[in-house]
C-alpha cells in the first residue's frame, strides 16, 4: 500500500505532530521508501512459523503483589503544567461541558 499525503496527515494527527504542507509533501515519498525497504520481509516464507511477541527468550517475568513506596506528591506533580487541588490541570477534554 502506497502512502499518500492523506495518510501522512492522518498519522501526523495521531501522533499530535503539526506538519506543514511542505513536510507532508516531503514525508510521503520518504515513508514509501521506508515501507518498501521493510516490505522485503514479506518475501520470507513464514508459513507454519508461530508469531512471537518478543525476541528475548524469556516469559513470565512477574513480580509479587507487594507495595513499594510511591513518589512524594510534590515530585509526582512536578512536571505538570499547572496543579490545582493536588491534581494536574489540563484543557477541557469534553467539548460540551
Amino acid at each position: 500500500m502506497g502512502i499518500n499525503q492523506d495518510h501522512v496527515r492522518h498519522v501526523g494527527q495521531l501522533a499530535r505532530l503539526h506538519l506543514s504542507e511542505e513536510e507532508i509533501e516531503a514525508f510521503s515519498p520518504q515513508l514509501n521508501e521506508i515501507l518498501r525497504y521493510v516490505d522485503e520481509l514479506n518475501t520470507i516464507e513464514t508459513d507454519g512459523v508461530e508469531p512471537i511477541a518478543s525476541v528475548v527468550d524469556q516469559a513470565n517475568v512477574l513480580r509479587e503483589d507487594a507495595l513499594k513506596p510511591c513518589l512524594p506528591h510534590e515530585q509526582a506533580v512536578a512536571n505538570g503544567p499547572e496543579v490545582i487541588d493536588g491534581s494536574f490541570r489540563v484543557p477541557n477534554i469534553l467539548e460540551n461541558r
Binding site: H10, Q13, L14, R16, I52, A53, S54, V56, Q58, A59, N60, V61, L62, R63, E64, D65, A66, L67, K68, P69, C70, L71, H73, A76, V77, N79, I84, D85, G86, S87, F88, R89, V90, P91, N92, I93, L94, E95, N96, R97
Partner: protein
C-alpha cells in the same frame, strides 16, 4: 415495525490486588490526588513495567469460572491514544492474545435458562481519573487509579433486553465476588459496564448499527440507559432515520443518553506487542493448580442448597446471594439447626438487621453459634417463636446469650400445665356463650379461646400446649 435489541456488554472489573498491575503503588480507593504514583504509572522516561503475578492468577481464576479457555501463550500490547488520564500515551492491554477466551455463563431470566457467551477476558491497566471542572476552568487529572489492574470481560451479542443485561451483570458480579477477584462495587467504579446496543427488525439475522453506552454507575442506570436507548433507536428507525455508530453518555439527572463529543481523533489504536513486557506462558500445571483452588460458584451453591437442605428456590437464592451469607447459613446448619427454620431466621430477622446496619454477614454481631442457641430454645419450647422474633433486635444488638436475655426479659414460655390450666379455667368461666358454641360443634371457636389464653398469659403461654389443654378442658367441663 417490531425490533429486536441485540446487546453485548463490556465489563471492566478492578482486580483486588494490593498493588498496581505493573508497579508497586497501592490500589487503595479514595486517597488524595496523585499520592499513589511512581515513575512507572506516571509514564516517566526510563521506567519499566513488571506484571503483577496476583493479577495474572486472578485472571486465570475468573477465566476458569467463566468457562473460558486459558491461552497457554499470551502477551501484552500497547493501545495507543492520547488522553490526559493516560500518561504514557498508550494503555497496556491485551489485543490478539487475551489470557481468557471462548467462555460462557448460565443465565436465568424470567424462569428460562440460557447461555451468555464470553468472547474474551483480558488483562489491562486502568487509566487515571478526570474530574471535569466547570466550563472554562479545564479538567483535573488524578493518576492514583492509573495502572490499577483490570479484567475486561466481553460478551458476544447474546443479550436482548435490559432485564437480561441486568441478570447477566448480577450473575457476573456474584461470580467475581465469590472468587474474591473484584468487589463488584459499581458506585465506586470497581465494576464498570459498557453495553453496546443495536436494533434489527424481528426475525432478521444481520446486525443493525450499534451504539456504545458509557458513564453508567449503578445496576438501575444500566437498565434505564438500555430502555432509553431502545426507545430512542426505535423512534429513529420508525421515522425513517438512521442510527449512527457513536458513543453515548448516560446522563443520570436527565434520564437520557447524549452523544459524547470528544476532541480526540477517531480511534485508530495501532496495537502492537509491548516490548517492555515478556509474554505470559501459562502451563497446564498452573491452570490445574488454580482450578483446584476454585471456590464453589453461586450457581452450583444454589443448586446444592436446594438439593441438600430441601430449601425453596427463593430461599436458596437469597442465601447464596453472597458468599459470606451462604457460609453463615451453612455454619448454623452444621451446628445442628433445622435447615428451613434457619433459613427463615437468616433471611428474615438477621438480614433485616444486617441491611439496616449496611453490613455483610461476615460482620454480624450475632455469631452462628448464638443464633443456633436461640433457634434451639424456640425448638424446645423455652421461648415462643413470636417472642423470639420480638426479642431479636435486642439479641442482635446486645451481645447477650439467648439464655441470659430470656431470663432477663421474662419471656420464657409457659409450658407447665399448672399455670396454663389456671388461665384456661378463667377464660372458660368468662366466656360461657362461646363455650356453648364450641360444644354445639363450632370448632372454629377454639381459636378464639387460644387467643384469649395467650392474651391472659401476656403472650408467654406455649400455644401448642394451650391448644391441647383447651380441647380437654372444654370437653371435660361438660
Amino acid at each position: 415495525m417490531t425490533y429486536e435489541p441485540v446487546i453485548g456488554v463490556e465489563v471492566h472489573a478492578q482486580l483486588l490486588t494490593r498493588s498496581k498491575m505493573f508497579c508497586g503503588c497501592s490500589t487503595d480507593f479514595g486517597q488524595p490526588p496523585n499520592t499513589q504514583t511512581c515513575p512507572t504509572c506516571l509514564g516517566l522516561p526510563g521506567s519499566l513495567p513488571v506484571a503483577n503475578e496476583a493479577a495474572v492468577h486472578m485472571a486465570i481464576r475468573a477465566g476458569l469460572a467463566l468457562n473460558c479457555t486459558i491461552r497457554s501463550s499470551n502477551w501484552f500490547a500497547r493501545k495507543n491514544y492520547f488522553y490526559p488520564d493516560l500518561p504514557k500515551g498508550y494503555q497496556i492491554s491485551q489485543y490478539e492474545e487475551p489470557i481468557c477466551e471462548h467462555g460462557w455463563i448460565p443465565l436465568e431470566v424470567h424462569g428460562t435458562t440460557k447461555r451468555v457467551r464470553i468472547r474474551r477476558a483480558h488483562l489491562e491497566e486502568d487509566a487515571g481519573k478526570n474530574i471535569h471542572a466547570s466550563a472554562g476552568s479545564g479538567s483535573l487529572v488524578d493518576l492514583n487509579r492509573a495502572g490499577t489492574p483490570l479484567l475486561e470481560i466481553v460478551t458476544e451479542p447474546d443479550l436482548h433486553s435490559a432485564d437480561e443485561v441486568d441478570a447477566y451483570l448480577k450473575a457476573l458480579r456474584d461470580i467475581l465476588r465469590y472468587l474474591n477477584v473484584c468487589d463488584g462495587n459499581m458506585e465506586e467504579g470497581s465494576l464498570r459496564c459498557e453495553p453496546n446496543l443495536s436494533l434489527r427488525p424481528k426475525g432478521e439475522t444481520t446486525f443493525g448499527t450499534k451504539v456504545e453506552l458509557k458513564n453508567i454507575n449503578s445496576f438501575k442506570f444500566v437498565k434505564d440507559a438500555i430502555d432509553y436507548e431502545i426507545t430512542r433507536q426505535t423512534q429513529v428507525l420508525n421515522e425513517g432515520g438512521t442510527v449512527h455508530q457513536e458513543t453515548r453518555l448516560w446522563d443520570t439527572a436527565k434520564g437520557k443518553t447524549a452523544v459524547m463529543r470528544s476532541k480526540e481523533e477517531a480511534h485508530d489504536y495501532r496495537y502492537f506487542p509491548d516490548p517492555d513486557l515478556m509474554p505470559l506462558h501459562i502451563s497446564e500445571g498452573w491452570i490445574e493448580q488454580v482450578r483446584e483452588g476454585l471456590e464453589e460458584l453461586p450457581q452450583a451453591k444454589l443448586q446444592r442448597f436446594i438439593n441438600d437442605y430441601d430449601l425453596p428456590d427463593h430461599d436458596a437464592r437469597v442465601l447464596t446471594s453472597s458468599r459470606t451469607l451462604a457460609d453463615y447459613y451453612e455454619t448454623c446448619v452444621q451446628l445442628g439447626a433445622q435447615p428451613k427454620a434457619t433459613s427463615n431466621w437468616v433471611m428474615g430477622e438477621l438480614l433485616r438487621e444486617l441491611n439496616h446496619a449496611g453490613i455483610g454477614a461476615e460482620d454480624a454481631p450475632v455469631t452462628p453459634e448464638r443464633l443456633v442457641e436461640l433457634l434451639t430454645l424456640v425448638e424446645d419450647g423455652t421461648i415462643s417463636l413470636k417472642a423470639a422474633r420480638e426479642l431479636f433486635p435486642e439479641f442482635y444488638a446486645s451481645g447477650k446469650t439467648a439464655h441470659a436475655l430470656i431470663q432477663e426479659t421474662g419471656l420464657r414460655q409457659v409450658s407447665d400445665e399448672g399455670p396454663l390450666t389456671e388461665f384456661i379455667q378463667t377464660v372458660i368461666a368468662n366466656n360461657p356463650s362461646q363455650v356453648a358454641q364450641y360444644r354445639e360443634g363450632k370448632e372454629a371457636v377454639l381459636g378464639y379461646f387460644v387467643g384469649q389464653v395467650m392474651k391472659a398469659s401476656g403472650g408467654k403461654a406455649n400455644p401448642k400446649k394451650v391448644n391441647d389443654l383447651l380441647k380437654t378442658a372444654l370437653l371435660g367441663n361438660e
